[in-house]
């Protein structure tokens, strides 16, 4: 039972990060039809920028966290403007190549600025675990879960209740119709890149703080976007959240229960097996619509 709870909790913590990264991917795909393969690099960059702010200024983590979000929003706006705007209306394959290229460039920039070895992240969370019933739980995990939950709630409220959030959903439905009401569709695209960069960066910072270090391997979290969005549905925000959590939990369960039996590797394979099974029943993912628009 204790193992079960421990695995479940680990799964939710990691899954929450997957959810953030996938959410960024889905928001960009929904609003502009572009597939962004640089989500993992947004996450990594966020962690490094936050670390740099902490090292240079000695402000508290919360302040560095918020400053990094601001930085990510600006980065998103900039990228949309210089890299992606010229791509509107280009064939899908060139768009994919460009976002892949973007991911290499971001990786290279991070290496050039901060090197390729692991850099220690200053301790953020108190180290002694708190007891949840019988279960000792690291405080970092709880903070991370809380942060992810808060971000998800804020985003949901944004999409449901704000003028801009509604305009983003309207644009996702049809760019032409959104344009016809005077919604500045270009600015909506830029906003979607900003949000995507910011939520991924949040994931990166939480990971950095939990692990106590950052390195280039953080970008691998971007690879999880594919199974998560296939599971949840390319165009569904709640799907990205559910898909992220499910994949995270599955990984940990198969790692905890199957790896000892099969001698390792189940953790990486199980999510894909589950994916295939689910897609056989629901070909558009758990929450996806039958005709994902554009593409």
């Amino acid at each position: 039972m204790e193992l079960f709870l421990q695995l479940l909790l680990n799964g939710l913590v990691v899954g929450g990060i997957y959810a953030l990264v996938a959410l960024g991917f889905v928001i960009i795909y929904k609003s502009s039809g572009l597939l962004n393969f640089a989500q993992g690099e947004f996450l990594m960059l966020g962690a490094y920028v936050c670390l740099a702010i902490l090292e240079e200024t000695r402000v508290p983590f919360v302040a560095a966290f918020l400053l990094t979000l601001v930085f990510s929003v600006a980065l998103g706006l900039l990228l949309e403007r210089v890299v992606l705007r010229p791509l509107l209306g280009q064939p899908l394959i060139s768009v994919i190549m460009v976002t892949l290229g973007l991911s290499s460039v971001l990786k290279a920039v991070v290496q050039a600025l901060w090197g390729s070895h692991t850099r220690p992240f200053p301790p953020v969370f108190a180290t002694e675990p708190v007891m949840l019933g019988p279960l000792p739980v690291s405080q970092g995990y709880l903070w991370s879960l809380g942060c992810v939950a808060l971000l998800l709630v804020l985003l949901t409220l944004f999409f449901r209740f704000t003028r801009l959030g509604l305009a983003m959903r309207a644009t996702a439905f049809s760019q032409q119709v959104a344009l016809s009401m005077g919604i500045p569709v270009r600015r909506i695209f830029a906003l979607s890149w900003s949000i995507a960069a910011a939520v991924s960066a949040a994931g990166g910072m939480l990971l950095g703080a939990m692990r106590g270090g950052v390195d280039g391997s953080l970008a691998f979290y971007g690879l999880k976007v594919i199974p998560v969005v296939i599971l949840g549905g390319m165009d569904s925000i709640s799907g990205a959240i559910a898909g992220g959590l499910i994949i995270g939990v599955l990984e940990n369960f198969s790692g905890g229960y199957l790896d000892p039996l099969v001698g390792g590797g189940a953790k990486d394979v199980a999510p894909f097996v589950a994916l295939v099974l689910i897609l056989m029943v629901k070909p558009h993912g758990l929450f996806g619509t039958a005709h994902a628009r554009r593409v």
Binding site: A170, Q176, V177, S180, M181, G182
Partner: protein
């Protein structure tokens, strides 16, 4: 009413407009027309004549479809507007209600209306206009919290009109408001269009396949074919015109197709 005026400067004027899609397909071939302030003008013609293209040229929505005004000019309130982006045009008072209803299916009725008023920031005014929408279309008021995707065809068309009213435009471009709407509801929608024109002083440029209902409320009408003007006149005269009667007053698409052969040549 518009026909009786002695040629005041029109609200909207197209002068020898040419539109090309994808750099190659010439669709409007020197189209000229003018829409006096406060009037209802009907734009009729068979399938593929270029009616929707004309409206998109005016509202700036051509761009998103690979189309371009390659010559001629479009003036609104005496200023050139061809080439301006749609958001500027909405701010200037031109609102395009696109063909086929096109409501935001995953937003509620109320949220759809809010999107119609996207370019405005005067909250009290927006609230007033929302109430006004529900007055014109009580059914929308009853369904304000429902997702627009669940409305019937006629209700969706009403919502598309309501969205236009929320922008408080001077000119509404309407593309086939009768399409996919039950005949009885078509009558109701056209009565409301007349009322909106009179009460809100909103000018309407109305594209229709259903010439009978369009000419019944319009002051003036144009008939285009293959991107050219072939006939124009007071709505009442057009309704009585032999060629128009033969070609369009059967209504519907078949009549439209017949028109192609009867009016050209």
């Amino acid at each position: 009413m518009a026909g009786a005026l002695s040629v005041p400067a029109p609200l909207l004027r197209l002068d020898a407009v040419e539109v090309v899609y994808d750099g190659a397909i010439l669709v409007l071939r020197g189209l000229s027309l003018s829409v006096p302030e406060g009037s209802i003008v009907a734009l009729l013609g068979p399938n593929g004549a270029g009616k929707s293209t004309t409206l998109k040229a005016i509202s700036g929505l051509l761009r998103g479809e690979g189309g371009k005004v390659t010559s001629g000019s479009i003036e609104f309130l005496g200023e050139r507007i061809d080439g301006l982006p749609p958001e500027d045009l909405v701010r200037r008072g031109i609102f395009h209600v696109m063909e086929g209803r096109r409501v935001f299916e995953e937003l509620t009725v109320e949220e759809n209306l809010a999107m119609g008023g996207y370019t405005r920031h005067d909250r009290p005014g927006l609230r007033r206009d929302q109430a006004r929408c529900y007055e014109y279309f009580p059914i929308l008021g009853q369904r304000r919290r429902q997702l627009a995707g669940y409305l019937s065809g006629g209700e969706q068309q009403m919502l598309a009109l309501g969205r236009a009213l929320m922008a408080r435009p001077r000119l509404i471009l309407l593309d086939e408001p009768s399409l996919g709407v039950a005949p009885m509801v078509v009558e109701e929608i056209f009565r409301l269009l007349r009322r909106i024109n009179e009460e809100e002083k909103t000018t309407l440029l109305l594209v229709e396949q259903n010439a009978r209902v369009a000419l019944a409320i319009a002051h003036h009408g144009y008939v285009i074919e293959s991107g050219r003007m072939v006939l124009e006149g007071k709505a009442a005269d057009l309704a009585g015109d032999k060629t128009v009667q033969d070609a369009y007053l059967g209504g519907g698409q078949q009549a439209g197709r017949r028109a192609r052969t009867s009016l050209i040549s």
